[in-house]
């Protein structure tokens, strides 16, 4: 092979490799990008009905209810404008508490309630989930029209 053809092959191989990596990234992004909505956005119908997403806000004081002796819990997530009831069955994280920030992953039911398959709280006890902190400080709920 001449050096010129060699270089051509090398360039083609790099292009093919980058193309393959990009295709892989697109494919992997497809189903695994998780969008975040606050209760106002969910109430406004911006959140999808057909796929999972994350909802976040503050756990309303006094809203935590357990079905005694089982793992079933429900609580209300609020951004102080709108509230969405959340149902979950499983262990709540150590940092979960009424009056503190929370993020739940799951999907919306027809009745406008959220069924979570995962409830998240981050490692630091002073830590408010960033999406929650920001959505609480948002001046108007309408910004999300973009």
């Amino acid at each position: 092979m001449t050096p010129r053809r060699k270089r051509l092959f090398a360039v083609l191989a790099i292009v093919a490799g980058v193309a393959a990596a990009t295709a892989l990234a697109m494919l992997a992004f497809e189903d695994n990008l998780l969008y975040f909505y606050n209760p106002s956005q969910v109430k406004a119908g911006e959140a999808p009905n057909d796929r999972t997403f994350r909802i976040g806000g503050m756990v309303t004081e006094g809203s935590l209810q357990r079905t005694e002796g089982t793992l079933k819990v429900s609580f209300v997530v609020t951004d102080y404008r709108e509230s969405i009831p959340v149902h979950y069955e499983g262990l709540l994280p150590d940092l979960f508490r009424e009056g503190q920030g929370v993020i739940a992953h799951g999907r919306l039911t027809g009745a406008g309630e959220f069924v979570a398959d995962e409830v998240l709280a981050k490692h630091d006890e002073n830590y408010m989930p960033p999406e929650v902190a920001e959505s609480l400080h948002m001046p108007t709920p309408a910004r999300s029209s973009e």
């Binding site: 695994n32 990008l33 002796g69 262990l91 006890e125």
Partner: protein, 652 residues
């Protein structure tokens, strides 16, 4: 008084770092021996003063000096002494000081052990290390001073985050930072080479042990972090693809690519500019990682921007280091031509594939880690990239990488695969596939495609690593440290693959609600809650459960998971009860009191999980053995480029 001394020695260290950079780089440019000697002395001085400063902060923690803001924020009078020391690097300011101390140690070592290098080259390396040090010390002194006083002093401290009150996590940051910062040496070597515009085999031989040493620290640091997340975060995961974890994993991938590419550069004089680029990349990702974790940018892009001093400094420093190095690279790298051919089945070509797959995985992980930050910064919506993304983009390049790894080790430089090796490899590959099918069916009772591939690849890599030793022993060839290290590290890769495949394929996690006397079944194990009691620790109160695990009526073990409440307040902490076994871990974590005498528990069966970390330790051990290969300690004939020719003829 002591904190002020600490602050003062930090300022002196900065001045010495400036002297180190100016005299070393200036001396190298002007060929002034006196200046270059002054630069070397500054390295020693800087180390002494950074160490004194670090000692001062440690002293403030041990003495419970709550008039220092950082001490008051991150420790408390009840905290045991060991954790008061570990609290030094428990938050932003102190971890930057630890970073600077690591850099001072690496600089000192690099200066002390580079006596046989060409003097101007050696000075340039020292000067570049000085420049990096200036950046960090300046950042600390202007925006993150750990010695800031609290007026009036607090009567007691706020406490170290209970999650960090743990042995593995106490030693995790120093080891991880030794890894991160160690890549600074390879980076400085690369920049010095670019400044001089020439690269010979001696350069690669000099860089290899340093890179290996840094890389092995990083390997151990990452493994410790994963192990800690498994038992301390309470929920039994061993890797979450969290940005904080990715921040340490990306430099590791770049470092892994670098040590392989360095092998080609040393033995064959190829891939020169690529190797330099990887050296720059590995350290750039270390810097990026440090700042991702420590600057608060992950908590909120906008919060990061609201602390302009820190944010702008960080962006400026990253731009200066990475941009400067890349500019230098663009300017000088074209001068470094390498022209030698190699066969498609030669070792060079396998190492090329190794680099391509590692860099592909690295790029895709970087994309997934930074994408949410960009989207957020551009106000395009709040998204996060889920673990399945990372699992897919990591798995796809790793499968061919592992498959080729087994062959590549047996390929000769330049010429390609010999027929003897070919038959041997076919036998190993066939055996690996059959064993993985049979073992999967016999032990776990089912055959799944991805599981079979995973086990087969694990056995393939382990077998083909051992075959190197067997072949050498049979041929009565010596086994130098570099070969032994390679074999052990690659065997470790196989062991980790075995663990990852096992746990990802067959793990069982179950959340249950149990009252005392009730039981739940996980896999074929019976978990029975037999007692609940209150216990008192040095600085916490806890509820402890007895969970008796039995199998087929035979008692296996009793687990003691705890729910802790630290006296300093804050949220409860889960301490899991874990039974370690050769084939599986049994895991119980205590949740909440559910009423009616029931507690929530998370029970888990984790097959082969220990092999993930055992493999990582073998990888690090292999790196260590290779780094201490005797030929690196030979005084390098750094000016004789002819050694390159001699090195290419023999197999390693």
């Amino acid at each position: 008084m002591i904190p002020e001394l600490g602050h003062f020695t930090l300022i002196l260290a900065l001045l010495l770092a400036i002297a180190q950079a100016v005299f070393s780089l200036g001396g190298a440019a002007r060929r002034h021996a006196g200046w270059m000697a002054a630069g070397r002395s500054a390295v020693v001085g800087q180390f002494v003063f950074v160490a004194l400063s670090f000692a001062a902060l440690t002293y403030a923690f041990v003495q419970r000096d709550f008039s220092v803001l950082y001490v008051a924020t991150n420790s408390n009078s009840e905290l045991p002494t060991f954790y008061r020391v570990a609290a030094v690097w428990g938050a932003h300011e102190g971890s930057l000081l630890l970073w600077s101390l690591s850099l001072a140690i690496w600089s000192l070592a690099a200066t002390a052990l580079s006596g046989s290098l060409d003097l101007p080259f050696r000075s340039r390396v020292i000067g570049i290390l000085g420049l990096i040090s200036i950046g960090f010390l300046l950042f600390m002194l202007t925006t993150s001073n750990p010695f800031e006083r609290l007026v009036p002093a607090a009567s007691d401290g706020n406490d170290l985050n209970p999650l960090l009150q743990d042995f593995a996590l106490a030693i995790h940051p120093p080891i991880l930072y030794m890894g991160y910062v160690g890549f600074a040496v390879a980076f400085a070597f690369a920049c010095a080479t670019l400044l001089e515009g020439r690269l010979d085999a001696a350069w690669a031989r000099w860089t290899r042990p340093w890179t290996l040493a840094a890389w092995l620290c990083l390997t151990i640091g990452i493994a410790l972090g994963s192990w800690w997340a498994y038992y301390e975060l309470g929920w039994g995961g061993w890797w979450f693809w969290d940005p904080v974890e990715n921040a340490s994993f990306m430099p590791w991938l770049a470092g892994t690519a670098l040590i392989h590419s360095l092998a080609v550069t040393e033995k064959r004089g190829l891939f020169k500019s690529w190797t330099l680029l990887l050296a720059v990349t590995a350290f750039s990702l270390s810097l990026l990682g440090t700042f991702l974790v420590r600057s608060g940018v992950l908590i909120s892009v906008h919060a990061f921007a609201t602390d302009p001093a820190r944010g702008i400094f960080i962006l400026g420093f990253l731009t200066a280091v990475i941009g400067g190095a890349l500019l230098l690279y663009a300017w000088r790298a074209p001068q470094l031509k390498s022209s030698a051919g190699f066969e498609v089945t030669s070792r060079e070509s396998f190492l090329l594939f190794n680099n391509a797959f590692l860099v592909a995985a690295l790029g895709l992980i970087l994309l997934g880690t930074l994408y949410p930050l960009f989207m957020d910064a551009l106000e395009l919506g709040k998204i996060s990239v889920g673990p399945p993304y990372f699992e897919l983009v990591f798995l796809v390049p790793m499968l061919p990488l592992l498959a080729l790894l087994g062959v590549g080790m047996h390929a000769a430089w330049k010429r390609g695969l010999l027929s003897g090796a070919r038959n041997r490899l076919l036998a190993i590959g066939g055996t690996a596939l059959v064993v993985s099918l049979v073992a999967g069916a016999a032990v776990y009772g089912e055959i799944r495609p991805l599981t079979t591939i995973g086990f087969a690849l694990a056995l393939w890599v382990m077998g083909s690593s051992l075959a190197i030793l067997v072949a050498r022993l049979r041929a009565r060839l010596p086994i130098p440290g570099a070969v032994l290290g390679m074999v052990i590290a690659h065997f470790g890769v196989g062991v980790s693959t075995l663990g990852i495949t096992g746990v990802q394929s067959f793990k069982i996690e179950k959340d249950v609600a149990l009252a005392v006397g009730e039981a739940a079944t996980v896999a074929d194990y019976d978990f029975r809650l037999t007692a609940l009691r209150d216990v008192k620790g040095p600085n916490f109160l806890a509820v402890e459960a007895d969970v008796v695990v039995s199998r087929a009526g035979q008692q296996v073990t009793i687990l003691h998971p705890q729910k802790r409440l630290y006296n300093s307040g804050g949220n409860p902490m889960t301490e899991a009860g874990i039974e370690v076994g050769a084939g599986r871990d049994l895991f119980a974590a205590l949740g909440d009191d559910l009423g009616q005498g029931r507690w929530s528990l998370r029970l888990q069966y984790k097959p082969l999980i220990r092999y993930i970390w055992l493999g990582a330790l073998l990888i690090a051990l292999g790196g260590g053995i290779a780094a201490f290969d005797r030929r690196y300690r030979r005084r390098a004939e750094s000016t004789v480029a002819a050694t390159e020719a001699a090195a290419t003829t023999g197999r390693r």
